[in-house]
Amino acid sequence: MSDPLEVDEPRYCGYTEYVDGPEAEELPNTGAGATGIEGAVWDAVASVEDPEMPVSVVELGLVYGVGVTETDGRTEATVRMTLTYTGCPAREMLTGDVREAAASVDGVDAARVELVWSPPWNLSMVSETGRESLREFGVSI
């Protein structure tokens, strides 16, 4: 049996079902190049910070994707995100803040957050900007 401490080939989850948004995305994703409402949602979500450290959840690499769909003239934004660890006590707070940020965007009628766990978040998903913010704060990364 392989020990999770030994990392060889990544094992990808064979199940992906996305109701909204892109089928798959390159991670980490910071929404670079996103335009229109999707871009605005990324910008809004980027303003949400980790409750313990002054770094954006987008720069931390927690936001895996943003999808915008229109049904019967109603625009719904979906943010797909994860958490740094399963026991994160700020789960309700973060997902709530992200949902509110997405909902605040002009042109968005409703927003929802989809909490996902694949692929598992790890430190390599933190952007360079994120790393700088963390280092300034005193976290060595």
Binding site: M1, L5, E17, T86, R91, L115, W117
Partner: protein, 288 residues
């Protein structure tokens, strides 16, 4: 693959039962770990155990989330659930004798070794939502094993029990025997309860037939024995003969320790008259 929105009755029962045992094990493990808050033998150990407990709560939450998706509310799953409807192994509910750190690390080792094998047997699950969150859980579990194993090695100095009195006479010999003596006492007490980890529920056949889990609990037990027996013997301990306690855990029968723990953890909820917390976001706004 099983479709979460379109489960046949027996498939649903299999998924639900497996999720309950997963979730209940983690939840009760966490509840007992926090008995050690502010009481750990060192600051580092205290923090480590708090972290492990937090992880276990997180894992429990991930599995309870999937049960919520099957239509249950949190109160039904925990706070208002009758104590004999819980499916965790009795190992996890046992009280600690005050200061019995040997129990804490040994119990952790026995459970974490089971969990590793259990989670691995879920890697090929036919139920995608379980597969989806496995890797995250497994990554965190690795730290738990590091913790318990390193403590066990440390307590037994790598397993060297002196064959003859050392220089310094009886006092020296007894000093190094003490951890082994305590660990042996803990092992004798915990072992039968550890074996309840492998007690099948009434859905075991179904769980295997539907492919929710790829290996039987009986097979996992063999693997677990093959790992734990040499390790414990290598520490200088004697592994007891397999035997089971009167209560089995997964069938809803539990020790009196569970009654007390259950009363403790539901105390505040009951005191508040079973009113849901006012600050909770409406369930349809957050998917998890």
């Amino acid at each position: 693959m099983l479709a979460p929105d379109d489960l046949a009755e027996h498939e649903r029962a299999a998924v639900e039962t497996e999720l309950r045992t997963l979730a209940d094990d983690q939840f009760v493990a966490a509840e007992r770990y926090i008995d050690w808050q502010v009481r750990g033998p060192t600051l580092e150990a205290d923090i480590a155990v708090a972290n492990i407990a937090q992880d276990e709560y997180g894992h429990a939450r991930l599995w309870y989330d999937l049960l919520e998706r099957l239509g249950y509310e949190e109160a039904e799953l925990l706070w208002e659930r009758p104590p004999d409807a819980f499916r965790h192994a009795t190992l996890l509910e046992l009280d600690y004798a005050p200061g019995d750190w040997a129990d804490c690390v040994l119990r952790g080792y026995l459970y974490d070794t089971f969990e590793k094998l259990h989670l691995e047997s879920l890697e090929g699950t036919s139920y995608p939502p379980i597969a989806d969150r496995l890797e995250k859980v497994q990554g965190e579990e690795a730290y738990h094993r590091e913790h318990t194993q390193s403590w066990l090695d440390r307590l037994t100095e790598g397993g060297e029990v002196p064959a003859a009195p050392r220089e310094g006479g009886e006092a020296a010999r007894n000093a190094s025997d003490e951890p082994v003596r305590r660990l042996q006492a803990a092992l004798d007490r915990l072992y039968p309860h550890a074996l309840t980890l492998f007690e099948p529920t009434e859905a075991e056949q179904s769980i295997l037939e539907t492919g929710v889990r790829t290996r039987s609990l009986a097979d996992l037990r063999e693997d677990w024995l093959a790992v734990t027996t040499p390790f414990l013997e290598g520490l200088g301990l004697t592994v007891p003969e397999p035997s089971l306690p009167d209560v089995r855990g997964r069938d809803g029968s539990h020790t009196d320790d569970w009654e007390s723990l259950y009363d403790e953890l539901t105390y505040t909820y009951e005191l508040l008259g079973r009113e849901p917390a006012k600050l909770m976001a409406p369930p349809d706004e957050v998917e998890g």
